[in-house]
Point group: C3
Amino acid sequence: MIRIVKRTLRWLAFEHGVAKGLYRRICKPTGEELGDFLRRYGRFHHLGEHVSLRPWTNIPDPQYVSIGNNVQLTHCSIFAHDGSIAMLNRAYNVKLDRVDRVVIKDNVYIGHQAIVLPGVTIGPNALVAAGAVVSKDVAEGDIVAGVPARPVGRLDKLVEKLREQTSQLPWAELIEQREGAFDPDMEPQLERYRISYFFGSESTSRW
Amino acid sequence: MIRIVKRTLRWLAFEHGVAKGLYRRICKPTGEELGDFLRRYGRFHHLGEHVSLRPWTNIPDPQYVSIGNNVQLTHCSIFAHDGSIAMLNRAYNVKLDRVDRVVIKDNVYIGHQAIVLPGVTIGPNALVAAGAVVSKDVAEGDIVAGVPARPVGRLDKLVEKLREQTSQLPWAELIEQREGAFDPDMEPQLERYRISYFFGSESTSRW
Amino acid sequence: MIRIVKRTLRWLAFEHGVAKGLYRRICKPTGEELGDFLRRYGRFHHLGEHVSLRPWTNIPDPQYVSIGNNVQLTHCSIFAHDGSIAMLNRAYNVKLDRVDRVVIKDNVYIGHQAIVLPGVTIGPNALVAAGAVVSKDVAEGDIVAGVPARPVGRLDKLVEKLREQTSQLPWAELIEQREGAFDPDMEPQLERYRISYFFGSESTSRW
């Protein structure tokens, strides 16, 4: 019953652009499904393939935002306008305008609570760490972090390190078989492996 | 019909202090209307004219907060109490109290996710950048940014720079005619100008 | 009537694990009651006594998180997984896994919007300031702040300073009599004391 309602809502939203708010609230689309939905209805200047967004990804001016392929946006904010203009106009009796584009290129991850400011271009192949405030362009291949965001590493080196670390895990063989970053069928087994590795067989009371 | 409901809800909330939660949820007041509403019902120690707040502006102790005129508060947090006291009291078997006032003077903007801590005075004529954590007073005319927030510039210099930049925009003439920072009638034309300027006439696929 | 509904909802949720979402939405449990509830139903690896959480405390992987006694979690985030893996796997055609435990020991406070990253151990007796991004262990007794978080002080020194400050307050006698960090019966009197001390007898218009 619920499945039919959800399928109908999804069909209405995707094919007819109807009941879009209801669709998002009831169907709770996954990150990539939300990306597919917003490619059609999100008013973005451009939004590529395999873009994952969260329900709370905060992009108030999508018409000035261009997003490439394989981009993961968490609970972050992307601003194309400067919100202080109204206060400045009244305080200094001036008439200012401050809107600029934001360009996110291919293969970019933007972490939790990160903020991207107007005029910024990020990537390709770049990572913005959680909590970073990005006020300048992020170069191809860079990892940036901090307030304001500064380069702290290179993405290809990070991938090399993570490959090494993954190969050492007791459950490395399972990961080798996994498609993508999450497999619901494999997850219970991974969870048992991980909990035993992280916390051992001791009782939980030792913490 | 909906318009009549909204007008009635607004009237009930503003004139009789009734159904205030419903008013905020249904009528979705603009930032300044919410300021007018909270001046009357928000329990602030003081809240001036032309104060703009967002639905998620987070001010748990308004009775200890004083806000001047022409202040813009985004999705930020202003704390007049120190939340760690309960933990400290139990851990160290002490009886501490840590509540202090927060004073925001005239012509202040506080950016997205910024946090203002107890005891702080900000402004007048000051700007707190997005993501800043303000643990010390912000002097008149200063721009602060970072964690913890430090002075990074002067507001009058920023206004001078923005005036110069605004005058160079292809749509500078429109801005000269605009009242305030947003004119719904002018916005579609501004949007066409901006998109063409930011992204050119090329297809969106170049990103 | 409402009280009976709430009591019934609480009973159903606590004793039978039924209607847990409704319980949280309708009963709006206090921080410690939510801790008691999540100790039973939150899927945490371990969650101790006197743990206080907020409705928006963000812990997406509780099975890999261990939390001690007397811990206060505000509107913060604790991540046991690295969200960028999906993007990296697709961009570099690799198969990475990056999940690690998080251990919060006894007597810890984690401030507003702070972010704790996978692999971190905090405390005991530690304080994470608002807005901090914790990517490394926090040693026993340390106060950390900033992005990334670095030690900025010692908790026992802070408690000593706050004891001194509390003893100087005009309402110090009341605090001496108070149990815990909040007493609803005492609060109105404390509020009068504080407002008079913070803002004096002058009209509010001086700000």
